[in-house]
């Protein structure tokens, strides 16, 4: 219940924050993952840099055909944003299924993405949305696709001294759905599937399926996407595609769900998400 002592800074500008992070400080966003770990002393950073007061990090705005979400926008802000709900309901749905109300009021998109919990909700949606992660280093910025950002469990493309500054989501006219089987104790996804499909006439022109919880990292179920594209999206098409989602995946196993069951759930929830999106 009591963290080890640490130094704390809450700079107002990103430059100040980046200087401290470059010097080894640990960035603190909402702290919904980090602080419980610190209380159990599983994490013991020597210095925290609180990003909450960095003004130009907390925003949700539209620019051209893209949605820009600052790293410290809370899950609640994303979930309740009229803009996100109208232009990218998938992201709002993923945000709304994270943890509980209190956690969503404090937890941030940047923190969650950077933490890369293999069972987090956002990554599935970001994969399906072909989102871009804007990474800020001490001196420069770079942009990485969601597909490349998530490397392994808790492992991302972030290098030492870098933070997630912004999430960029392309907005396009599509049908989406996020379906999740929550673990009953923690609410984390046993499996979560985000889908985005676009039809051209009566054919599926493009399909994107992002999966979380199944393996060590979120991923796009490319084989299933391909199987779906060009079809009419009938129930049979959906079933066929959904069956491909877990294929070849090295699925995780724990006391709440074996690897086999997780794979099965991935198919079931993929089918449900596709059906919901196509209906």
């Amino acid at each position: 219940m009591i963290a080890q002592a640490f130094d704390y800074a809450a700079p107002k500008t990103l430059d100040e924050a980046m200087t401290l992070i470059a010097a080894g400080a640990k960035p603190l966003a909402g702290g919904m993952s980090l602080i419980p770990m610190m209380k159990l002393r599983l994490a013991a950073p020597e210095q925290l840099v609180d990003l909450a007061r960095v003004k130009d990090l907390n925003y949700i705005r539209e620019s051209g055909n893209q949605l820009h979400i600052g790293a410290t926008a809370t899950h609640y802000a994303v979930e309740s944003s009229a803009l996100v709900r109208a232009k990218c309901p998938l992201l709002a749905a993923a945000a709304a299924s994270i943890g509980d109300v209190q956690v969503r009021n404090v937890g941030t998109i940047g923190g969650s993405v950077a933490h890369a919990d293999p069972a987090a909700d956002y990554p599935a949606a970001l994969q399906a949305l072909d989102a871009q992660i804007v990474i800020r280093g001490a001196k420069s910025e770079r942009t990485v696709s969601a597909a490349d950002f998530f490397v392994d469990a808790f492992t991302t493309a972030l290098e030492t001294g870098e933070i997630v500054r912004e999430i960029v989501v392309p907005m396009e006219d599509s049908s989406t759905s996020y379906q999740k089987a929550p673990q009953p104790a923690s609410g984390f996804a046993l499996v979560g599937v985000a889908v985005r499909v676009r039809k051209n006439g009566d054919r599926i022109a493009s399909a994107r399926i992002g999966v979380t919880g199944l393996a060590n990292k979120s991923f796009r179920a490319s084989a299933a996407e391909k199987a779906l594209e060009g079809t009419a999206g009938t129930a049979a098409d959906v079933q066929k595609a959904a069956a491909l989602v877990p294929q070849g995946v090295d699925a995780n196993s724990d006391l709440h769900a074996s690897a086999d069951y997780r794979k099965h759930l991935a198919s079931v929830y993929a089918a449900r998400a596709l059906t919901a999106a196509l209906s």
Binding site: M1, I2, A181, Q183, P184, A185, D260, H264, V268
Partner: protein, 775 residues
């Protein structure tokens, strides 16, 4: 919702809102962690990360040198403190010496090894990290059946068979019944270990007044007086020099019906440092070190006739005790044995219990304590029998019930059931769900490939613990009622309510009996310096035993009031009603306030008359009470995922008279939630090395609001004749009725697949596999 009360109405039987709530809803109640004292220190207990290990050395030097640290104690400092007590006795029971801090060996993960005391809890926590303990890790055993196997690691080296006791009980002619049986069914049924998880963890504040040799112990407990007696013994203090004060208690469910190492340890620390000390259990410690419930592996055999008549039941219980006996650990499975006949007429019962040591935290009383395990088993077996005989589960129950004219009914396990009408709640529940049409609906649903189940449980339980000969520390309860000089009424109960609402129900009883406004009544509990000796709150006993004690104290008090009122009215022919003593001849009256005032001023008392208006009653119940009920659960199972959805939960409970139906409903709801929790989600899982892998709320799934079904709570009322209130007790009923109702429903849903039994918790994956998994 609560009803509004007009003053002339009787309060017993009314849904009135609780009198304890104003402090709770405003956040102004005082729980143990809310206590602050000048000079108070803080203690952190260092615990073993291993389930079995020898302690080779403990180096506390660095911790002692940490700023703010005033002391570090280890097992060698506390060796002289008496062992953590086991209050249960069984023939041949092996009782390991349970030091309050480990000495040379640890026996379970979480075993206390050292205590750090500092001026600040943050500093104490820092210092605890600096203690170096060198362990020689040994092989552990966490599963009770594995512990019984030849060659298993010995939890206690002196008892290599890991057996703490063997207990046998038998009634009737079991062998003959089995020989005569037309049908015999057998089933292994487990009742998994559960973590009670009171929302408030345990906690203690101890203060030592050396000059007075007085130890004040503020502890979150269900049993203040027993705790006082036992801690005094452990610390070698005179019992009247220990005062236990129970502040607000944030739930117990049996987990605080105990005497824990930390309670004596904080007393020890306070005496050593001469300052108050506070210890508050973390949730992680609560999972590791507070008793757990259940932990049964049961082997049932049931003999019956083809017409469904149950002839005999055999049961072998393998009880996982954990590494030690806590207060009642070995007694819990014997309650399962008592409960074995359930509501059924069978006279032939045989039970064999083997109590097994494992390298886990001890099991002990958790909501229901032994009775849920038995009821779960019996209610499962009756369903399996029904399936075997192709009979309707409701019909087979109705056929075997003890009938109303058979009461008092002596059971094969030596109990005498007080009163009952077992068919009544079942028939009521069947009516509520419209059973006949429900069966048709189910048949139609199955035609459409849907997986729908109907589950019935008809439970009985043993409540109002209990007659003293059957209860380790006395089964009576006490009450004192004082009329203050102003006429206000103070009730002191030896029970120790902690959420059950007796500050309200007892005030209802007192207000009715004395004819006073409920606002004039104050109920006090939980301070051994104020309240007469009492037993405590557990086993659905507070109202059925403590309320009865209150009732008798009130009768004594009313006699005194009448006597004094008669003196003031100068009449021998008086009656007491509506808060007044009335002269039956003249109609003249004196209100209670005036009588009380006169009694205490004592100006006009005849010689040899004792002033004051106080009555104390210690009531010994002649028997337990035996509530019963019927729960019906309708489930729908997701074919794709195995997820169970409870569509409908109907509970018809008969707990005798209801003092406050609003509170009774609350007890039923909460009980059902814990039973549903066991059926569907909860399970303490240990790995082979004795690590609790559901070691935090991250992995131990408690029911949350969105997981619970709506509970339709109904009653039939069959008053008991054991106590004058006619109440039987309701604290555990919901828990006992729920788990078999849910499991029976799910098994029923899967019965077309040939499924006869599933062990709890009914995880979606388990059900998915039974439905064929990937095939």
């Amino acid at each position: 919702m609560a009803t509004t009360i007009t003053k002339t109405e009787l309060l017993v039987g009314k849904r009135i809102r609780r009198r304890e709530d104003p402090r709770l809803i405003t956040g102004t109640a005082t729980y143990v962690d809310d206590i602050q004292m000048p000079g108070m220190h803080h203690a952190i207990v260092l615990r073993s990360p291993h389930a079995a290990a020898k302690i080779l050395s403990i180096n506390t030097r660095a911790a002692e040198g940490t700023p703010g640290v005033v002391a570090v104690f280890t097992g060698k400092d506390t060796k002289h403190v008496g062992p953590v007590p086991c209050g249960a006795s069984l023939p041949g029971l092996r009782v390991p010496h349970h030091y309050i801090l480990a000495t040379d060996r640890v026996y379970f993960v979480g075993h206390p090894v050292a205590v750090v005391v500092a001026t600040d809890k943050y500093l104490a926590r820092d210092a605890a990290d600096k203690i170096e303990v060198d362990y020689d890790v040994l092989k552990a055993v966490a599963d009770p059946e594995k512990a019984l196997a030849v060659g298993a690691p010995a939890v206690h080296p002196e008892w290599p068979d890991n057996t703490a006791f063997n207990y046998h009980q038998e009634g009737g002619e079991v062998d003959k019944a089995f020989a005569d049986a037309e049908v015999v069914i057998k089933q292994r049924i487990t009742s998994q270990r559960l973590i009670p998880t009171a929302m408030e963890t345990r906690g203690v504040v101890a203060e030592w007044h050396a000059a007075d040799r007085q130890l004040n112990l503020h502890s979150s407990t269900q049993i203040p007086h027993l705790l006082r007696s036992l801690v005094a013994g452990m610390l070698g203090l005179e019992e009247n020099r220990v005062r236990v004060i129970t502040p607000e208690v944030g739930g117990g469910f049996g987990s605080k019906l105990n005497v824990y190492a930390e309670e004596a340890l904080m007393g020890f620390v306070a005496m050593q440092i001469g300052k108050p000390v506070k210890w508050i259990e973390s949730r992680r410690e609560n999972f590791l070190c507070t008793i757990q419930g259940r932990g049964h592996v049961d082997y049932y055999e049931l003999a019956a006739k083809k017409d469904g008549t149950i002839l005999a039941i055999k049961l072998k219980i393998v009880q996982d005790l954990g590494a030690y006996h806590q207060l009642l650990t070995p007694a819990i499975p014997t309650l399962s044995v008592l409960m074995m006949p359930g509501l059924y007429r069978t006279k032939n019962i045989r039970a064999d219990v083997v109590g097994v040591f494992t390298n886990c935290v001890p099991t002990d009383a958790y909501r229901g304590a032994g009775r849920p395990e038995a009821t779960h088993g019996i209610e499962r077996m009756v369903d399996i029998l029904a399936d075997e005989l192709k009979m309707d589960p409701a019909e087979i129950r109705l056929k075997n019930f003890v009938t109303p004219e058979e009461f008092p009914y002596p059971t094969a396990t030596g109990l005498t059931y007080d009163t009952g009408n077992y068919a009544a709640p079942l028939e009521k529940a069947l009516g509520i769900v419209d059973y006949k049409n429900l069966l048709k609906e189910q048949a139609a649903a199955r035609q459409q490939g849907k997986v729908m189940g109907i589950g019935i449980s008809t439970y009985g339980e043993i409540c109002a613990f209990g007659p003293s000969p059957a209860t380790p520390a006395g089964g009576w309860e006490s009450a004192t009622v004082k009329i203050e000089p102003s006429g206000k009424v103070t009730v002191m109960t030896g029970a120790c309510p902690h959420g059950q609402g007796e500050e309200t129900t007892f005030a209802q009883i007192a207000a009715d009996e004395l004819g006073v406004d409920i606002d004039d009544v104050l109920v006090i509990r939980g301070d051994t310096a104020i309240v007469q000796y009492g037993i405590g709150t557990f086993g659905s006993r507070a109202t059925a035993v403590g309320g009865a004690a209150l009732y008798f104290a009130l009768q004594d008090l009313k006699a005194k009031i009448k006597k004094f009122g008669g003196m003031l009215l100068e009449s021998d022919d008086v009656s007491y009603s509506g808060g007044e003593v009335i002269c039956n001849k003249t109609g003249a009256s004196k209100p209670l306030s005036e009588i009380a005032g006169a009694t205490y001023r004592a100006m006009k008392l005849p010689p040899n008359t004792e002033p004051g208006l106080v009555a104390t009653y210690f009531w010994e119940p002649p028997n337990f009470t035996f509530p019963f009920g019927a729960h019906i659960v309708i489930t729908d199972i997701d074919r794709d995922t195995g997820q169970v959805k409870i569509r409908r939960y109907v509970a018809v409970d008969d707990c005798g008279n209801l003092i406050n139906p609003l509170i009774v409903d609350g007890q039923v709801h909460g009980g059902v939630a814990q039973g549903v929790g066991q059926a569907l989600w909860e399970q303490a899982v240990y790995d082979d090395s004795g690590q609790l892998i559901t070691g935090e709320l991250m992995d131990y799934a408690l029911p949350r609001a969105h997981m619970m079904p709506w509970i339709e709570s109904h009653h039939t009322i069959t008053p008991t004749n054991v106590n004058p209130l006619g109440v039987k007790g309701v604290g555990e009923a919901g828990t006992i009725g729920a788990s078999p109702a849910v499991v029976n429903s799910v098994v029923d849903a899967l019965s077309p697949l040939g499924v006869r039994h599933i062990d709890m918790p009914l995880s979606p994956e388990k059900i998915w596999k039974l439905m064929g998994g990937n095939n």
